[in-house]
């Protein structure tokens, strides 16, 4: 384990350091009113099947194992905490993480879409952060696309038998990063009047992606730490959910 951990540390430090120091600004969710109406509706509708699937998935999980509500609440709270922490980055701006990786690994990607929606609603209503008109697009990027990537990467790592902690780290970090790539794509799709679509996408990616890299690394580490804590103290729940099958 310690060898694996050392490898993670080496990898993360390299990642953190290779991205030089260049002051740059960034953004998080798509701001209120910054998507044309058609796009707002389209993204919102696109989210509906996922939200419905998430609702059913949560209902099923809770019906089978009532006590799993603790873990579910914890995944939700994790998103709450993580997405409220704005962290300064090497690019001279602040951004925050998504925290959806944990829930996606534990409960599957659709369940997280509900948790993410709750957080986005909170932020849109109280914090002027994100917005009600863009909530569909934001839900899609943060609570659907990101978790699906996390989940996929976690399953992939499990399949090729990479150390589980490395898998969790990669899943959480890449899911976080992907969230912001999707946000950039959404903005580029809606706004490319003056330049070509590709140029707009590059422009938005340049704003979002680099800032998010150190944060993705932090998110990966935090998620691994939380899972380690859960593995120590919440074995029955993790088994019930199928996360710790082999440990029995």
């Amino acid at each position: 384990m310690s060898k694996q951990e050392k490898r993670i540390l080496a990898l993360t430090s390299v990642c953190a350091l290779t991205f030089g120091i260049a002051p740059r600004v960034n953004a998080m969710h798509i701001m209120e009113g910054y998507l044309p109406g058609g796009f707002c509706i389209a993204w919102g509708v696109l989210c509906l099947p996922f939200l419905a699937a998430g609702f059913f998935s949560i209902r099923k999980t809770l019906r089978e194992h009532r006590n799993l509500i603790t873990l579910l609440a914890m995944s939700g709270a994790f998103v709450f905490v993580i997405s409220s922490l704005k962290i300064p980055t090497m690019f001279g701006s602040c951004s925050h993480m998504t925290g959806t990786g944990l829930g996606a690994i534990l409960f599957g990607p659709t369940a997280v879409s509900i948790l993410g929606l709750i957080v986005l609603l909170f932020q849109a209503l109280l914090l002027a952060h994100g917005g009600l008109t863009t909530i569909g697009a934001n839900t899609f990027s943060m609570a659907i696309a990101g978790p699906f990537v996390s989940w996929g990467i976690y399953l992939l790592c499990k399949k090729v038998r990479i150390n589980r902690k490395v898998g969790i780290f990669l899943a959480a970090a890449l899911g976080d990063l992907f969230t912001y790539c999707i946000t950039a794509l959404q903005l580029a799709l809606a706004h490319h009047a003056d330049v070509t679509m590709g140029e707009a996408l590059v422009e938005f990616l340049a704003v979002f992606a680099p800032t998010q890299v150190p944060l993705a690394i932090i998110e990966g580490i935090i998620t691994v730490l939380i899972v380690m804590g859960l593995e120590t103290y919440a074995k029955p729940e993790l088994r019930a959910i199928g996360f710790l099958k082999e440990a029995k």
Partner: protein, 107 residues
């Protein structure tokens, strides 16, 4: 295990805090404005057609202090839930000694 946790936390603090000291003249702000600036760059004719609901209600920008209050509330709710549940798990483990023995092979 303990070492990993401490290393992880130290690493997080380093990644988060080093920029503060290295980039002394940076603003570390403009989170929401920055995206809007790029929108203006690539699509100069676009006008945002809605404003955040709270800002519409109070008729102006949310004061920075109040915004940080809301962010603190959000963090507080989350941390409260996590620590409450984690505390329950930790206590419960004390009552389930045999569980612990049988599952020590976990990693």
């Amino acid at each position: 295990m303990k070492k990993t946790v401490i290393l992880g936390i130290v690493l997080i603090c380093l990644i988060a805090l080093i920029p503060l000291f290295v980039l002394k003249d940076a603003e570390f702000g403009g989170s929401d404005d920055a995206g809007s600036q790029v929108v203006e760059e690539v699509d100069s004719s676009y006008d945002p057609w809605a404003a955040p609901i709270l800002e519409t209600l109070i008729g102006g920008e949310l004061p920075g202090e109040v915004e940080s209050l809301f962010f603190c509330i959000q963090t507080g709710i989350g941390v409260g839930i996590i620590s409450f549940i984690m505390g329950r798990f930790v206590e419960r483990k004390k009552w389930m000694k045999q569980e612990e023995d049988s599952a020590r092979d976990c990693n």
